[in-house]
């Protein structure tokens, strides 16, 4: 059949009509010739031809793609019926938009953070190099010397690249204007291997790497933010950490680096890293980051040649890796921090290639669990939504029994009728899905801005892509089938039964009841899950972190940014401190390198004298450098010894303070006061320091961590520039912010102040992920509860209406109004109890899966279980209250008359 016929089928139909008319005329003529009267002749002709409409219909169908044709009919019919019951349609579309929207929003986040491929050429060919060491785990990188060797001896990759994503801000000054940027140091083949091109200028190349040219490439985003898309940016000289660099290009808009969630602003050749951060690179020493084989700082990726397997690539590079590890071990021999255990760990390190097309794994690992939890929660919410809509559809199908019966009688196929119902479901789901998609992107944006406003460094692109659109399409169709199929089939079957009697109603409410039980059970699971997450968030917030978190104001300054270097920084800081302490309302003030509950360093200390047998040279401890009166300001309780004071200066005897866990680990029951240790790998100073104090444990990075050994050194010299102040106030800390800013300005007018916040705000920020998961799951749990209540209300109202006659009879026979409403309530209680019977064990099982996200309570926490169950029961009774009351108000005479 040609398509031209399909599109011209109306024309063909007219042709046939004319042809059949012609036949009738000819036959009539013949009949007249046989001697019939004109009337008889015409009637005989008609009889002979039969029903001309049926003939035309048959031919018409030959001309149409029957499926399309009837689909269009179904769709039009569905639109008409849906438009007629506007309230029903609106309710269904709104709840679908909510359910699908929630799922799409969470999936968009999962897609952006976990699934999406990097916006580079053929990302699936990229492999990430892994150096798995027994001591350092998977977080160990590669030395620059090793990378160069990989590159020289490579026969399996069409390109290789190395980079270091600085996990701190660099200062970037443009024509006298200070500012910060996220930087990365890259090899010369970084951009060519990725296939990332520039919008203007050129990218960094191998010559830049070889000659350590001070050149920089900025991302499009930074170009927009900092340079207002000025095309004259190429050739401009900027100061990165006070070292001059020339901008040579701007990358295309989609490029953000290789770590989803922490986008970079500026890239420079890795050989220029010593100019940017001399304190870390230590050029010219045996620790020089560009030559020391034991400084494993680089992430390495390669683009596999077509036709080469991963195993072959590993085999090819294995000898190079072994050699590099031998050199690492040899290179650090004789260093202050050397030990046999460390040597051994290098020699037994393993080499692996992982797929790198989605970027580095750090973000995926951090966010995958909470995101999958949210995905599970939203899927359950969608299930409740579907159950609710299925119930509505059932009620509607019931109301349409007459129509269905008529259509069946005049010969509609049953499958065709099911399809008609499904068409309605699909149409509804399509509308719900469309609105859901819009809602999802709005929700995603606000979620992300909420998270980044609270300081979490998470920047993801949540533009709709084929993954997200496909997902939404899939769940829309899936939900349509889920809520549409059973009611459709039931409606058609019921109608046939109902022509034989009233058997249908009972089975309708049977399915309806099953759906309500499902809703109650799933809602309860969601409520209990949300309850557990909310309560553990509360536990975390109320938790005593080892210091007094009330009334502490934090802020940071970067004296580097206005030209103070090394030794000059701390005198400035101390001058600022004096000014701050004079402010009325300030009780004490100090400063530190890492602010509390944000981060800490890590070091492997060497201990002078005997240590317990289980102590290994590779054991590492957390480390922070802090100012005078640090412990008294934060109110970290003392165990023994003293605090740091103003006399602990660069030229004074070297001292250290340790926490309880560290004291116990290294010195057992003996007193650590007066013992000596050194931390050469932290500050390349191998001279001994005297331990002068022991302090109680606290939380250092986040509230989840278990007690860890911690070492404090006095802060003399700022390496990376930023110093955080901790100010203890007698009054609300917000009320001294102004005075503090003025005091800083009075001392150093050009010094920028950043990150002003209270310590409790900082704690809230460290809980951003937990709070997000808890509040979203709470919201979704509440929605599920409301949906279940609405479903229950609908079912009971329907049941009461159906049984009006029966109720009338009961009342006529003497049942009291109380008995009647009791009867209705009893039915609800039955359903709720069955729902609880399924829901509680399911919730306990599900809670075990999120055990690792819970804090301070068990997965079967009885209080949460009781509260959630009680709330659910109350809401269920409330939802039945109105129908029950209506039942008790039935007037027996009226009821019997309507029957």
């Amino acid at each position: 059949m040609g398509w031209s016929r399909f599109f011209r089928r109306r024309h063909w139909d007219e042709e046939r009509a004319r042809e059949l008319d012609a036949y009738l005329e000819i036959e009539t003529d013949e009949n007249l010739a046989r001697g019939m009267s004109p009337e008889q002749a015409r009637q005989a002709a008609h009889r002979k031809l039969g029903n001309s409409t049926v003939i035309r219909e048959e031919i018409y169908q030959m001309n149409s793609v029957v499926f399309l044709e009837t689909l269009w009919q179904d769709a039009r019919y569905a639109l008409r019926t849906l438009a007629k019951s506007r309230a029903f349609t609106l309710v269904v579309i709104a709840s679908l938009a909510l359910g699908i929207g929630a799922n799409t929003a969470i999936f968009s986040l999962i897609n952006a953070a976990l699934l999406k491929m990097l916006p580079v050429r053929d990302p699936e060919q990229l492999l990430e190099f892994k150096n798995l060491s027994p001591v350092f785990g998977a977080y160990n990188g590669f030395a620059y010397t090793a990378f160069k060797e990989f590159r020289n001896r490579n026969r399996v990759f069409s390109g290789m690249l190395a980079f270091f994503n600085l996990d701190f801000n660099v200062t970037l000054e443009v024509s006298g204007q200070g500012g910060v940027a996220r930087g990365q140091a890259v090899s010369g083949d970084y951009f060519p291997t990725l296939g990332v091109r520039t919008i203007i200028g050129r990218t960094i190349d191998l010559r830049d790497e070889k000659n350590a040219n001070p050149v920089a490439v900025v991302t499009y985003n930074y170009w927009r933010k900092r340079f207002a898309l000025d095309p004259g940016v190429v050739g401009k000289t900027v100061l990165i950490n006070n070292s001059p660099f020339t901008i040579i290009g701007v990358t295309l808009p989609e490029f953000f680096g290789l770590q989803p969630g922490s986008p970079i602003d500026v890239s420079f050749p890795l050989t220029t890293y010593p100019r940017v951060v001399p304190g870390m690179a230590l050029p010219g020493t045996q620790y020089d980051i560009l030559t020391a084989p034991f400084r494993h700082w680089l992430s390495v990726m390669g683009r596999l040649q077509p036709g080469v397997t991963k195993d072959k690539a590993v085999a090819n590079l294995q000898p190079v890796f072994r050699q590099a590890m031998r050199e690492t071990a040899a290179g650090q021999a004789g260093m202050p921090f050397d030990s046999p255990a460390l040597q051994q760990s290098y020699l037994s390190s393993k080499f692996r290639l992982d797929s790198g097309g989605q970027g580095l794994a750090a973000l995926r690992e951090k966010y995958s669990k909470p995101l999958w939890i949210l995905m599970a929660i939203t899927s359950l919410l969608l299930l409740v939504t579907c159950a609710n809509i299925a119930n509505l559809m059932l009620a509607r199908a019931n109301a349409r029994q007459k129509e269905i019966a008529v259509r069946l009688t005049v010969g509609a196929g049953r499958l065709r009728l099911v399809r008609q119902f499904l068409t309605e479901s699909v149409l509804l789901a399509a509308c719900g899905g469309t609105f859901g998609l819009v809602a999802a992107f709005w929700a995603c944006r606000s979620l992300l801005s909420l998270m980044s406003r609270a300081g979490a460094l998470l920047s993801l692109s949540v533009q709709p892509d084929t993954n997200v659109l496909g997902f939404t399409l899939f769940i829309s169709v899936f939900t349509a089938l889920l809520f549409g199929l059973a009611p459709a089939w039931r409606a058609v079957r019921v109608s046939i039964e109902s022509t034989r009697g009233h058997g249908g109603s009972a089975s309708r409410s049977g399915l309806g009841k099953a759906l309500i039980v499902l809703q109650i059970a799933v809602s309860l699971v969601l409520m209990i899950g949300a309850g557990l997450l909310v309560r553990s968030l509360e536990n975390l917030r109320d938790f005593y972190p080892g210091f007094n978190k009330e009334n502490v104001l934090l802020f940071s300054v970067i004296p580097d940014a206005i030209g103070y270097k090394g030794d000059q920084v701390i005198p400035v800081v101390k001058r600022l401190l004096d000014g701050i302490k004079r402010i009325p309302g300030v009780r004490a003030a100090t400063f530190s390198f890492f602010s509390p509950l944000s981060a800490h360093g890590s070091t492997r200390p060497k201990i002078d004298g005997p240590v317990p047998q289980f102590v290994k040279a590779t054991d590492s401890v957390a480390i922070n450098e802090v100012g005078p009166d640090y412990f008294s300001t934060l109110q970290i309780p003392a165990i023994s010894g003293r605090d740091f004071t103003d006399t602990d200066q660069a030229r004074a005897p070297k001292v250290a303070i340790i926490n309880e866990t560290m004291a116990h680990h290294y010195f057992g029951d003996s007193s650590p006061i007066g013992r000596h240790l050194s931390v050469p790998d932290w500050n390349s100073d191998s001279s001994w320091r005297t331990i002068v104090g022991v302090r109680k444990d606290a939380k250092y990075r986040n509230l989840h961590e278990s007690p860890a050994p911690m070492l404090y050194l006095p802060l003399f010299q700022s390496v990376e520039g930023a110093v955080t102040f901790e100010v203890r106030t007698a009054i609300d800390p917000d009320r001294v912010v102004r005075a503090i800013l003025q005091a800083v300005k009075a001392t150093e007018s050009r010094l920028p102040v950043s990150d002003v916040k209270t310590l409790t705000e900082q704690i809230d920020q460290s809980l951003i992920q937990e709070r997000l998961v808890a509040s979203l799951s709470g919201l979704f749990g509440l929605l599920a509860l409301i949906l279940a209540a609405v479903g229950l209300y609908g079912l009971m109202t329907y049941a009461v209406n159906r049984r009006t006659g029966e109720i009338g009879i009961r009342m006529a026979l003497g049942a009291t109004r109380g008995q009647i409403s009791g009867m209705v309530l009893r039915e609800t209680v039955q359903l709720v109890l069955i729902g609880f019977g399924i829901g509680i064990p399911a919730a306990v099982a599900a809670a075990r899966l999120i055990r690792s996200e819970l804090y301070g309570l068990k997965s079967d926490d009885p209080i949460t279980l009781i509260i959630a169950t009680f709330t659910m029961a109350c809401i269920a009774i409330l939802a039945t209250w109105l129908p029950a009351k209506r039942a008790s108000r039935v007037e027996p005479m009226v009821a019997l008359r309507t029957e």
Binding site: E15, R16, E19, I26, E27, D29, N51, V54, I55, E58
Partner: protein, 117 residues
């Protein structure tokens, strides 16, 4: 042409038969629907009654397949009528269908005769 779809044998045979008869009728020359039905009935000595309800759909089907073509003409009684004629493809089909029909009839006859013995 091999049958494009696997119809039940019975339906296939009957439908195919009407198609064959229409094609054979048109060998004599162009004719309109009424004539075609008439000719088939006469030549089968009224044994085969053509259902008009299936004649026109059959004509349409054959035209769709390109075996016959149609045009508007004037009937014997000076009335407008839609005429059908055999196309080259239709002629080929007729030959194939006829030989297939012959084989079928022979085969059925053989079976029936064996049964009588």
């Amino acid at each position: 042409m091999p049958s494009p779809k696997a119809h039940p044998l019975e339906g296939e045979m009957l439908q195919g038969t009407l198609d064959l008869l229409i094609l054979q009728t048109l060998v004599l020359g162009p004719a309109h629907g009424h004539t075609i039905a008439h000719v088939i009935e006469q030549r089968s000595e009224e044994v085969l009654q053509v259902e008009h309800g299936s004649l026109y759909p059959a004509l349409h089907r054959l035209e769709n397949r390109g075996w016959i073509a149609s045009f508007w003409g004037t009937s014997e009684n000076n009335r407008k009528a839609r005429y059908y004629r055999l196309t080259a493809a239709g002629r080929k089909q007729l030959i194939e269908h006829t030989s297939r029909w012959d084989r079928l009839v022979r085969a059925v006859n053989r079976v029936l005769r064996t049964a009588e013995e």
